[in-house]
Amino acid sequence: MSPRSLFLAASAFGLMTLQGTVQADVATEALVEPVADYKLYVLDNLDRFVTHTQDFTQAVEAGDLARAQSLYAPTRVYYERIEPIAELFADLDASIDAREDDYEKGVEDPDFTGFHRLEYGLFEQRTTQGFAPYAKRLMADVNDLEARVQGLTFPPATVVGGAAALMEEVAATKVSGEEDRYSHTDLWDFQGNVDGSQKIFELFKPLVIDEDPAFVERVEENFAAVEETLAHYRQDADDPTSGFVSYEQVSDEDRRAFVGPVNLLAEDLSTLRGKLGL
């Protein structure tokens, strides 16, 4: 196949950039502002994450099952938004957000802690009995996370790569409904990941739009497609803050409708680092 026809094939879905030929390096200084803005975004979300985790864990410790259940998903959203940074602390990521499949003994494993351990109690066993120690541990871990992120130097490659990493999260664990398998609140996390990815994209968009306006347009279209499908499942269609129905209510057709735009976003955003010379 001639190089030209190979390129046509590769670009049929508009994904493969003509690499190495039109690369104009973005000045390092240009990255300072969006990275700083992103740190602000992360710190703001962490701040709210801490507050929400306080309410959530207090409800567990107080034995208020209904309140704890209702605060579970709204609390996690802030973590899901900032996962690219939160994941840099692997020990805390494991103790805060690991799922039962991360442990050979599953829910019986003594190392299984954090949100999903509490989710199992609140939604599967439907009790707060015996979960106070997990709540205390979660609060301590979240406070620890905030302290560590405060002092963290944000690596630009991690920040920019986070846009794609969040869409990989969605593609791998949200579309299948395995993230929140007991509470079926996956759409909250889904939205959190998308918000976090979109934030990074928006911050760096000014640095790539002149170079590749088609890329920006495509990414915006696919974010819009995901948002449109998500909007079908809001508890109140007119209120973006109203939260989501159970993932069990999402039709097979709509689960598939997520996959196309999510995969396209994962592919496109995987080139963002390259576009910024990172």
């Binding site: 026809s5 190495g20 300072v32 630009p156 000014p206 196309g260 995969n263 390259g274």
Partner: protein
């Protein structure tokens, strides 16, 4: 990039600015700028050259067949009458395209990728700061390795999404269970099947990953089954005997001769039926069935019973009446099934009676071996793939005759689907499914 006049990062949140500055304090700007200069990323990976000294590497298997290539362009797709290689897989997909234009884009991309992959060649080398153009699992330059990729469409693609209902192949339908089936919905049906075959397994995996990489908004894999066929030594004295399935019997005996083009036109290629849409000419109906074999139980069945169930001698593949694998069974002097039981597999599948010729199907199966069942038994069986000009006259008629056969005690179909294999791509201006889309457009 910004028209702001101050140097402070903008703070769009209700965050205490002092706390923010405190947070940044530990690291100045809180941003790692070290190592950002692009020159730090200069690669020094050498080209894939031959070493001067004796290499200390794990030995790789070698083959001279890696340069085998089947021409992509032609009246029919490859992978049907093409000689069956040692490895094959079926990948059933859902099409994610949202309209007919998206479907056309998908089919054009598939055409381009398959044309490249089956010919072989070198991937473009890109900027290392980007993801590479290819998975690289076969290296920067790929050999064709006998690769074929055969694209077929399921009945579900002809639903309301793309407006194709009026031009659906006449016999294409959703597979329904037969009495012995225990269909697992997660391994059934699909808008599209890709049959990927090659000499080596890694070549099929590479082709699949390449195709999926190029169609992220177009295809979602629904299920996949890989399989193999044992490699035979060519016979010095006659035709190469058929390969065996996981029940130990030769599978492929008495298959229609793929070199006989008139026979293929009659039995395999669609288009002679005037009630079929004209665009189907040169295509074929593909049936895929995942047929689990209960091999532990089978291995504990007496040999004579195994042979009676199939109607053939296990070692030679010859009919029970004698001769060789290549002798056509003749039941005319065995009307009561004294030699070959009336319910033997091969006798039910083809009674060799006048007029039955039109029900013959072209088999192109692979053996599969998956994981282990909860009971500790091996999950293995037959990736049954057949092609025929007429789905009703072919597989469905034959399978109805097989319903209730004694072999059922040892097998359980668990998945699969019915598909229509698109006609071939004639030349570089053509693409897979062009005829279908043009027919749909002229119907609108």
């Amino acid at each position: 990039m910004s028209d702001r006049s101050d140097n402070m990062p903008r703070c769009p949140f209700s965050l205490d600015r002092r706390r923010f500055l405190q947070g940044l304090g530990a690291t100045g700007t809180g941003i790692a700028m070290a190592g950002l200069s692009t020159s730090a990323w200069a690669r020094s990976c050498p080209a894939d050259d031959m070493p001067d000294t004796d290499p200390e590497v794990t030995s790789a298997p070698t083959s001279t067949a890696t340069t085998d290539a089947y021409p992509f362009h032609g009246t029919h797709q490859q992978g049907i009458v093409t000689p069956r290689p040692a490895n094959g897989m079926i990948v059933a997909c859902d099409v994610l395209a949202r309209d007919r234009d998206g479907l056309e884009q998908l089919l054009r991309t598939l055409t381009e990728r398959i044309a490249f992959l089956t010919r072989g060649g070198t991937y473009p080398q890109g900027d290392p700061r980007y993801p590479p153009a290819d998975s690289g699992i076969l290296g920067p330059t790929i050999a064709p390795d006998g690769l074929t990729v055969t694209v077929s469409l399921g009945a579900s693609l002809f639903d309301a999404r793309f407006g194709l209902a009026d031009v659906k192949p006449r016999h294409l339908q959703r597979m329904t269970g037969f009495p012995n089936d225990a269909l697992d919905p997660s391994r059934c049906h699909g808008d599209m099947s890709l049959q990927i075959c090659a000499h080596t397994h890694d070549t099929t995996v590479h082709a699949l990953r390449d195709i999926l990489k190029h169609t992220p908004g177009g295809l979602m894999v629904r299920w996949k089954q890989e399989g193999t066929v044992p490699v035979m030594s060519p016979s010095d004295t006659g035709p190469t005997p058929s390969a065996r399935n996981y029940l130990g019997f030769r599978d492929g005996t008495a298959n229609p001769d793929t070199a006989d083009t008139a026979l293929m036109d009659a039995l395999v290629w669609t288009g002679h039926d005037s009630e079929e849409p004209a665009w189907t000419r040169g295509g074929s109906y593909q049936v895929v069935r995942l047929i689990r074999n209960f091999v532990e139980r089978w291995d504990r069945a007496p040999l004579a019973e195994q042979e009676a169930i199939f109607g053939r001698c296990k070692d030679s593949g010859a009919p029970l009446a004698g001769g060789t694998e290549y002798d056509i069974p003749d039941y005319s002097d065995d009307p009561d099934g004294q030699v070959t039981p009336l319910d033997a597999h091969i006798r039910l599948a083809n009674p060799r009676t006048p007029g039955f010729e039109k029900h013959r199907i072209l088999r192109r199966p692979f053996n599969y071996s998956n994981a282990v069942e909860a009971n500790g038994q091996l999950d293995m069986g037959l990736l049954f793939i057949v092609y025929q000009a007429d789905l009703e006259a072919g597989f469905i008629t034959v399978q109805k005759r097989l319903n209730g056969e004694p072999l059922e005690e040892y097998i359980k179909p668990v998945g699969g689907g019915y598909f229509f294999t698109l006609p071939g791509v004639i030349d570089e201006n053509d693409f897979l499914g062009r005829g279908l889309l043009e027919a749909a457009a002229s119907h609108a």
